[in-house]
């Protein structure tokens, strides 16, 4: 997933606060009604103003915190993020906007920053007003720590079964810098954007415009290549804060820019795959690599279409080497395909050669399909472009979990 194959050193127990100048903390504020005592409100702060870049949901019903944060990210600097789980503050009208602004203002007062330098994110049930009394009291009980990242990562979980965190170290202009990240997923995970919430930190000094470029490149190869259920949420938010605490010369592109982009891509890829691996009800993850596509857009489209197919996902659950469903999904993806040229593999086993089944391959593929992670490769033999997408199986447990969420 890292474009040039570089892999940066992961830090043991790495989190958003493994990065210099960042602290975080979380409390149980009473917003999660289903999990009394579980952390549900957190703040992540930089000890100095940080360059900021972000991508947000394209859903027309963007939640109030998205509207507020989107406006503030445009100014290029941020000091902190306040986030809650249990309530999405979406479809909540004017009151929702006022609540999102108040939530940010509470955090701004707490970290002593201008209100417009505080971003806000929410996840949970749609259409229920935020319980502001809980949030006011919760912020009063918060304590930020230099090792508070893992607390914060727990505070944004909804149906996630575990927090998703990482930090990597690298050299930029002779200085050691770090990139950390946290994310939550579970359901409503789909390209544009894939994750519900993800926050990245770095102590590298990065020009705000270049930071946006690096983030977009990283997202294209990571969060936008995963799918859980095809639904794009109202609250998807991916933020990166770069506070410059490492003291490197500000990166605006060039070789250092490429190195930084590779590191951000590695962090995003780790988080994106962790989201797929912890999707609601999943038992098995799978990847689909499309090679030999006529264009990168075609490769991405075909790979993503396969990981979104309910029939493919159900076949992966049943460990059924039903490759017809994979070809079928490639066929309706809209990518240019020559049906008599396509090869398809599950792991090392070739299932299809030049568009026709390889005799005996279903039996040969059976053990591959039983693995906890299944890799499919389709070669379209039409060009040089390739892309990889990640998905998870569709299970009865997904249905059970999502058929009674609000009731």
């Amino acid at each position: 997933m890292v474009p040039d194959g570089r892999e940066f050193r992961g830090l043991d127990g790495g989190s958003v606060t493994s990065v210099h100048g960042f602290s975080a903390g979380a409390v149980y504020a009473g917003i999660k009604t289903a999990g009394v005592g579980k952390l549900d409100l957190g703040v992540l702060a930089s000890d100095r103003p940080a360059a900021v870049a972000a991508t947000f949901t394209r859903n027309a019903f963007a939640a109030a915190p998205v509207i507020v944060s989107r406006e503030r990210v445009g100014r290029g600097q941020a000091r902190a993020v306040i986030a809650n789980a249990g309530n999405a503050n979406a479809c909540t009208g004017e009151q929702g906007l006022a609540d999102a602004r108040e939530m940010a203002a509470l955090a701004a007062r707490y970290v002593d920053a201008p209100a417009e330098q505080v971003l806000v994110a929410s996840t949970g049930v749609i259409g229920v007003p935020l319980p502001m009394e809980c949030i006011r009291e919760g912020v009063g009980k918060l304590e930020l720590h230099a090792d508070g990242g893992p607390e914060m990562a727990r505070a944004i979980m909804t149906t996630d079964t575990r927090p998703k965190e990482i930090a990597v170290g690298l050299e930029l202009g002779g200085r050691t810098v770090r990139v950390g990240g946290m994310a939550k997923g579970a359901a409503m995970i789909h390209p544009n954007m894939a994750t519900m919430l993800a926050f990245l930190t770095t102590d590298a000094a990065i020009d705000a415009d270049f930071l946006g470029q690096a983030l977009r490149a990283a997202v294209a190869d990571s969060f936008n290549m995963i799918s859980v259920d095809g639904d794009t949420s109202t609250n998807d938010t991916l933020l990166v804060l770069a506070n410059g605490a490492a003291g490197n010369q500000t990166v605006r592109g060039g070789a250092d820019g490429e190195t930084f982009t590779a590191a951000v891509t590695q962090v995003c890829s780790h988080l994106a795959r962790a989201i797929v691996g912890d999707a609601e009800g999943m038992t098995r993850v799978f990847s689909v690599e499309v090679r030999g596509a006529r264009s990168e857009a075609d490769a991405r489209l075909a790979a993503r279409t396969v990981v979104q197919s309910s029939l493919v996902k159900a076949a992966v659950y049943g460990a059924d080497p039903n490759w017809g469903r994979i070809l079928c999904a490639i066929g309706y993806s809209g990518a240019t395909v020559d049906p008599y040229a396509v090869d398809l593999y599950a792991g090392d086993v070739q299932l299809v050669r030049a568009g026709t089944p390889v005799s005996g391959s279903r039996e040969a593929a059976a053990p591959v399909m039983e693995r906890p992670e299944v890799s499919f490769v389709a070669n379209l033999h039409l060009g040089d472009a390739s892309a990889v997408a990640w998905g998870c199986d569709l299970t009865e447990a997904y249905v059970v979990e999502n058929s009674a969420y609000t009731t």
Copy 2:
């Protein structure tokens, strides 16, 4: 669904052979390995050449019978259709094309018609060569009857639990004419095209070009507005044969053209809804009407996106009035939306007014959600266009059924 609100008289026990000049028959040929003795091969024939129009899957891996039939429909005339279930003859390479042609030739010999006037359709497992010996023997045992429509409708079923058939009567140019139809669905049902197989017959004399127009208009309001699982199959085929046995003056448009289009739309709508109502594992159907859209394209897009959402489908299964998921799906559909203008209803209960929740509506909507058929109406308040889409719930049974289809 009938554009001008007309509803034509349904015939008791109506089928494709309720229409003058058509006969049909079916046998168990041994193609369905899982259902010994179940009909799996059928022929539908007209006693004279009929004008023909059709729409086919847009999947790049169009199955061999689709490729053969598409070519033949272009000539504008047909005498018969031969169809089988149990094997899709898809992803079967050159041999598949030869097999599809031979299958048509066997039927052509049987009904004494030129081979290029016989169309062919298959449904079932992908990537397994057609068992031609079974088909040759099967055709030898076929007997066509004037009341063979119901047999033929059974012969194309796969995981369908019941055949889907209808016939209506109407007046065209002072003559009584009939339109009959049959379809099979179950899974891999999705717009462009929605149904796997549907065959319509009429004894009206209809110009072949106009027949195509009427069919496209009917499909836009029926098969293209349903979704079971978002997968577009390799074999989707919708055919209409018009043999002119009623002796009316050939219809090329005008008021009679509108009447005929309305009748075809009624037949297609009945079959499309029957497919949704018999989808794999479904327990409840639901409709989504989008009103007040800026354009018809927007209305269709928004309505279809909602019926395709796994989260909405799971909520319908759980009788959960989780309207946030409906707004969310409208929001990512790509239709133009003003989030502060949208109203949403479940049955008679208003859930959302101007983008914000109506207090107490979840409780009020609970009994509506328990109905076997749930109707949602969203008013975007941006224009005059509207559209209706139909879907079914997502259940554990769907997952079970589709996680072990070939094994």
